[in-house]
């Protein structure tokens, strides 16, 4: 099980290319071994898209969760759980990495 650290900052992996096409965020694997097979693309839902845009390597996941909770006027606890869930999926697929030194 991949452990997600809420106090760490993450960035998109260099092994994927994120593209926005007609409002949809599509993650295109660049290197082999991303995701569950070598020929699949991934589309983020709205939650994923909002989080992905904030993965800047400086803002911690906790800060991101707090910002999203304010923006979406949602209970911080629920949002934090969402962020943790999504980051677990992204880490498992090697689409994000911890910003070194954070």
């Amino acid at each position: 099980m991949t452990e997600i650290r809420m106090e760490a900052a993450y960035i998109p992996s260099e092994d994927v290319v994120a593209r926005e096409i007609e409002g949809e965020l599509i993650i295109v694997p660049l290197a082999a071994g991303i995701g569950d097979s070598d020929d699949e693309l991934y589309t983020m839902n709205e939650t994923g898209k909002a989080l992905w845009a904030r993965l800047d390597g400086k803002t911690t996941l906790r800060e991101i969760a707090r910002g999203l909770a304010e923006e979406y006027e949602a209970p911080p606890g629920e949002i934090e759980e969402d962020v943790r869930g999504l980051m677990t999926e992204l880490m498992r697929r090697k689409m994000v990495v911890v910003q070194p030194g954070r």
Binding site: E22, L30, A32, D38, E40, L41, Y42, M44, G85, R93
Partner: protein
């Protein structure tokens, strides 16, 4: 905001976007990186000699291709299909491939596999194209393969390339070109193809070969025409498994056939397109009529797709023969008559292609859509006939 679970959706983003009615201006782009080829296939509609320096000098340089790929990605394309000629003849192939992939494009590669080197196979394994490579096979042994390609040693080269892809686990599919030298090997080809890990169905085989789309050689055209099977041979090939053929064709006809009227481009041509080796953007890979092509050296994909191609797609036939026949034919769709085929055969956009017409009539007779001596464009109750054969196959 609360997502709960399933934040990342796997699958085909194309269809997701299209389902929501927000189709990008460009889905995919075909690019003919070169018309040169290291084979000299007896049936080929495009190939030019591999080492021809004049042809090579005219080809788009790397930077121009990169500009085109960039624009394709900006317009929303997800896939670039790299074909030729033999695209691996380009010295900058790896560079162009990596450039396209780094833009977040999938790459669909059509090749004969002979120029797959260990280095290229490593690259394709490390940075997968995300689409299965398509390898065309011309025979199952050196004598037959090289009777088609007319290049000694080409069979061994093809086998080497395929072995490298297999070794590196680079997903690929094979397809065939059914020609007099290799017709006796069809079963062997299908049996071999079934052993490949990524083949999910029988390989496709081309047999109704197009004439030279540059219209550059009467002599080659005569040779290609002589390689085509007769309409009856074509039907015999399709109907090797009669029950499934009837079922598939009845469903196909119910869905895709009908009189096209006088509009020439009833297909999807021009909604995407093909960039030729010299930077000319065509509505599809076949239609090279100069009146319906757009030179990207002085413009952009967007301009072509927004301003030029839609106008071309509105073109209507004024050829009385086409209007009397093809425009009224209920078998259009089963028949592959189109501006591209008309161009290759006649140098026009709307001249009936007799070869296609005869082949379609033969199929329709076999399927019970036409009686002997009937002409499809004179049939008044085409949809009723299609409905009848569909009902028959669905109830059997």
């Amino acid at each position: 905001m609360t997502g709960g679970h399933g934040f990342v959706v796997k699958g085909d983003p194309d269809s997701r976007i299209h389902r929501r009615g927000r189709k990008p201006l460009l889905d995919r782009l075909d690019v003919e990186l070169t018309e040169r080829c290291d084979s000299d296939c007896i049936h080929c509609y495009i190939n030019l000699p591999a080492g021809n320096p004049r042809v090579r000098a005219r080809e788009l340089p790397s930077g121009e291709w990169m500009r085109i790929f960039r624009e394709a990605a900006e317009l929303g394309a997800l896939t670039i299909r790299m074909t030729g000629g033999e695209p691996l003849l380009r010295d900058d192939f790896s560079e162009l491939y990596l450039y396209a992939r780094r833009l977040g494009l999938k790459v669909s590669l059509f090749t004969n596999a002979r120029r797959i080197t260990p280095e290229l196979a490593d690259l394709l394994a490390r940075v997968p194209p995300l689409e299965r490579i398509e390898v065309t096979v011309y025979g199952m042994r050196a004598e037959t393969y090289e009777a088609v390609t007319r290049v000694p040693g080409s069979y061994a080269g093809f086998r080497r390339g395929v072995a490298l892809l297999l070794e590196r686990k680079v997903p690929f599919e094979v397809k065939g070109a059914l020609l007099p030298p290799n017709r006796g090997e069809l079963d062997e080809f299908e049996t071999w193809a079934a052993t490949l890990p990524w083949m999910e169905r029988s390989p496709s085989c081309s047999m109704f070969f197009d004439l030279r789309t540059r219209r550059d050689s009467e002599e080659k055209n005569r040779r290609i025409a002589a390689l085509r099977p007769s309409p009856e041979e074509g039907v015999a090939f399709f109907a090797r498994k009669p029950k499934s053929y009837r079922r598939e064709m009845a469903r196909f006809c119910a869905r895709f056939t009908g009189p096209p009227g006088d509009r020439l481009f009833a297909c999807g041509a021009g909604q995407g397109g093909c960039v030729d080796a010299y930077g000319v953007f065509q509505l599809c890979m076949l239609v090279r009529h100069p009146d319906v092509a757009y030179d990207l050296k002085g413009g952009s994909l967007r301009e072509a797709l927004v301003d030029v191609f839609p106008r071309i797609r509105e073109q209507r036939s004024v050829n009385p023969e086409y209007l009397a026949r093809c425009a009224r034919c209920f078998l259009k769709g089963l028949c592959e008559q189109c501006p591209g085929k008309s161009w290759a055969e006649h140098g026009t956009l709307d001249t009936p292609v007799e070869y296609l017409c005869r082949g379609t009539h033969a199929q329709a007779r076999y399927l019970g859509l036409l009686a002997k001596g009937e002409r499809a464009w004179e049939v008044e109750n085409g949809p009723e006939r299609v409905g009848r054969i569909l009902a028959e196959v669905e109830s059997s």
